[in-house]
Symmetry: C2
Subunit: 519 residues, 2 copies
């Protein structure tokens, strides 16, 4: 209370502070903090609002500026360096949500109990939730009224088989309702999705090219890399423009039947974007949550039929055939309820796909398949054909069982390649992937058979070499698992755009001995 | 990667940065951040370690300085104002744990999967955990290897009746094992505990005085206020010294049989201190967790027998007689397994206890009961007698059913008062509570009966008036629920130590009309 005394006995300017503090008001100071998932508020432990309201670390605080109100979690600042007595700071997203600016007076209050937290607690205690209750929770998720701690408790309570079929349907509908929904003005709109990506698994450009060539409508949006050396959007960006507005996407799809755009500008499932971060931090697979996540995104994207690739393998997201089959059944069944035709293809998830790691190197893999080049990666080609074939069957373009054959022919005859280039041009231009100017070959010290490849280390190498920021950077793998090599044979090449970045990757590489294990 | 290029092509000093970054090293800058429960690390989004490791918001990062290693959650700093390219910042507790100082080079790495998180996931999926698994989790809780998100998922998975009796016993033992255990060198050591405190419920000093006077050993430690206007330690501090080391406590207890010290300096249940914050944020009562929390603290305090007060009421922590009885059964049963004799007293939790709110005002309530003053609060006296009586029965000092009568006599004859003063003197001194110099009386505008008292608002008023920092500040209530008042009768007084603080409380008071509801 020393501060209060001083303020009160002092001059008129500080009197103002007292009045502000009585009304729980502090001034905003911007500090450039990005907490992504959650709004954070930073306050001094000894500021009058903290003291009188009994706020402490983790307190959920309602912060208002005029009509705008948000909820933020408190982090306490002990130091006088950052904030003065009458100041607070907020994470940048919170400042944006409040439409506030430096120096604004913000009002702080205790957050009253949220109704959605009663729903969350109901689930924690093992009861079933109905549509209204899921709606309330998901609405508060999107408005960021729930803290990461609260989201975590919700996700934990939904884990395993805690959600029955009706609950998964309700959750999926809630997630669709809070997002933006695209409308293509077509009766049948196709899509594809892969659960738990594999390194190098760039089937998407191939599948889109093949089925669009066959006349299907497939407005595909993809993500950029978050922690990997390349996402499908990064790979496509090597060859064309991927930053399309919804209107631009519509024009491309109207002309060519398909597009290959970056999905980041269209917020299709804002609830999922928030939940997925917490789920990742917990490393739990809430099956119901995952189904709701995938299917709500597809429905919001305006799709009516989707083929889902589930790679199964010991290091893949889905580890057993049985789990994959159960998941498949549920996805088909939930899809039906929300008007989405779902078919699942269970694939081999034991190995990386293709040869390149990094945007341009993966683009070269894609093009070599489209161009039927001799050294095109067989695994990538095969996977794309199966998925495209399934979509052709779903569309009734071919008889059941003939999808792969027709897809293979479309590829073989160069029709898919033509369509791919046409899509790229409709998006702005098509250009060939460039080659990195700096390369470092890694050869086998001795003869042997490739027993194991450490994908995580290869990915780190690709990222240190500059991928995905440096588009041509990455790693080109010459010897997949099972290859036989002689001493001196090329195992892989590190590609970089500058000598600096190459050295950067190499100094990490020098400390690693077991990236490729020979026997 | 622009940063890397620039660094590499530049002078020798910046070359150093590249080498540091390759080895995932950044320099510490202290910013005075207090996140209490969790270690936080602040890094620039574009710093070379973030980029190459793919760290993102919420990433769990292992940070080392020499032998010291901690795990922290990442918050990303977009702004260049706070951190340069080769710097990071940490919350203060993390800096302390690393024994680091400004400018130190710290090494950052991905956190490998924690074994304890496998155990947590096992519980999330609804399986039973054994002693080894609880030990692993609680050890990581104490070492702060688990983030708040992970702690939340653990707590959610333990909620309701998710823990069976054996699991509660195992959890309790795990929590005892990670803390410090006190040894009083006595066969029987008594204690008391109240579940979910009521405002003004200062029975502790009375119970200790009564049973110590009867010859029991009761080395009581209490907490200070966190969000309330006074804790038992704050109230005792008005009259004596409460900052005792364990050695000093031992001396007092050896001399007088009991003590009334602040428990803050003895970390009896470090795991509980961390879990309880997250539980509070979720507003869930994990019954098993609560039992483990209370009993582990008592066992760690070296107690062998404890009486537990469970107030039941609509705004109390426990809301029904039935829940209280079930909880009581489990506490007795778990207590037995860890060698702790437990008895439970279920009490009325519908109203605040006593008349004063604030350290000195509550101390005056305590003294008026000890001195058998005419206007001493009857409710406070009655509660203390029941609890003390139960302890006397547990100790075998009196026959079953006679405890309250004997406790009342000890109080009536002034023996408890004498013992209380002796304990205070053994702790350093005894002094009378002072009176606040500034008082503001609030009177009834009309006649009526007191129907309702808003405890939360009274507490806020007491805190704005300066409690507990200003010891004599607070609110003195004249009319409990049920009182009949005439117009002009005194309802309550606001006490403050300075005119400034009084005005501060009054300007809040002016905006409130319904602190006391008359009909």
């Amino acid at each position: 209370m020393a501060g209060t005394n001083r303020a009160y006995e002092s001059n008129c300017g500080i009197m103002m502070d007292v009045t502000n503090a009585q009304n729980n008001r502090l001034r905003l100071k911007r500090l450039g903090i990005n907490a992504q998932n959650e709004y954070l508020v930073f306050m001094r432990k000894d500021c009058p609002v903290c003291t009188s309201e009994g706020f402490e670390a983790l307190s959920r605080i309602k912060i208002s500026k005029g009509e705008q109100t948000i909820v933020a979690s408190l982090i306490v600042w002990d130091d006088e360096l950052q904030l003065s007595h009458d100041q607070l700071s907020l994470s940048d997203s919170a400042i944006e949500a409040l439409k506030a600016k430096e120096g604004d007076l913000l009002t702080l209050n205790h957050l009253n109990a949220l109704n959605s937290m009663s729903d969350v607690r109901k689930k924690i205690y093992g009861h079933r939730l109905n549509q209204t209750e899921f709606d309330r929770i998901i609405k508060d998720v999107v408005n960021r009224n729930l803290s990461n701690i609260q989201l975590s408790a919700f996700l934990a309570s939904c884990t395993g088989d805690a959600l029955d079929r009706d609950e998964v349907i309700a959750l999926t509908k809630s997630m669709i309702n809070v997002g933006f929904k695209l409308d293509w003005g077509k009766e049948n709109v196709f899509d594809k999705h892969c659960i738990g990506g594999l390194p190098g698994n760039r089937t998407t450009p191939l599948v889109v090219a093949i089925v669009a060539a066959a006349g299907l409508v497939i407005p595909k949006t993809s993500s950029r890399a978050i922690t990997s050396p390349a996402g499908t959007a990064d790979t496509m960006e090597v060859m064309t423009n991927v930053n399309l507005t919804t209107e631009e996407m519509k024009k491309v799809v109207l002309k060519e039947g398909g597009c290959l755009a970056w999905g980041g500008s269209v917020q299709l499932s804002p609830a999922d974007d928030i939940l997925i971060r917490v789920e990742k931090a917990l490393d739990i697979d809430s099956e119901g949550q995952m189904i709701a996540s995938v299917l709500s995104k597809k429905a919001a994207a305006g799709s009516t039929a989707v083929v889902i690739d589930i790679p199964v393998g010991p290091t893949a997201k889905i580890r057993s055939q049985k789990t994959a089959e159960q998941l498949s059944d549920k996805m088909v069944s939930v899809g039906k309820e929300i008007g989405l035709k779902v078919e699942v293809v269970i694939t081999d998830g034991t190995q990386p796909v293709g040869r390149g790691i990094g945007p341009a190197l993966e683009a070269r893999d894609v093009l070599s398949v489209l161009r039927n080049e001799e050294n095109a990666p067989v695994d990538l080609r095969e996977r794309a054909i199966v998925l495209a074939g399934k979509l052709l069957e779903m569309a009734g373009k071919v008889d059941l069982g003939w999808g792969s054959k027709i897809a293979s022919e479309i590829l073989q005859k160069g029709i898919a390649y033509k369509k791919f280039v046409a899509i790229c041009k409709a998006q702005g231009y098509f250009k060939e992937p460039e080659q990195a100017p700096f390369k470092y070959p890694v050869t086998a010290h001795e003869a042997g058979k490739v027993m194991e490849i450490d994908n995580r280390k290869l990915a780190k190498l690709a990222k240190l070499a500059g991928a995905p920021g440096a588009m041509t950077a990455g790693v080109l793998l010459y010897t997949p698992v099972g290859s036989t090599v002689k001493a001196g044979d090329l195992l892989y090449e590190i590609h970089a755009e500058s000598q600096g970045e190459l050295s950067y990757a190499l100094s990490y590489h020098e400390t690693q001995t077991d990236i490729i294990t020979l026997n």
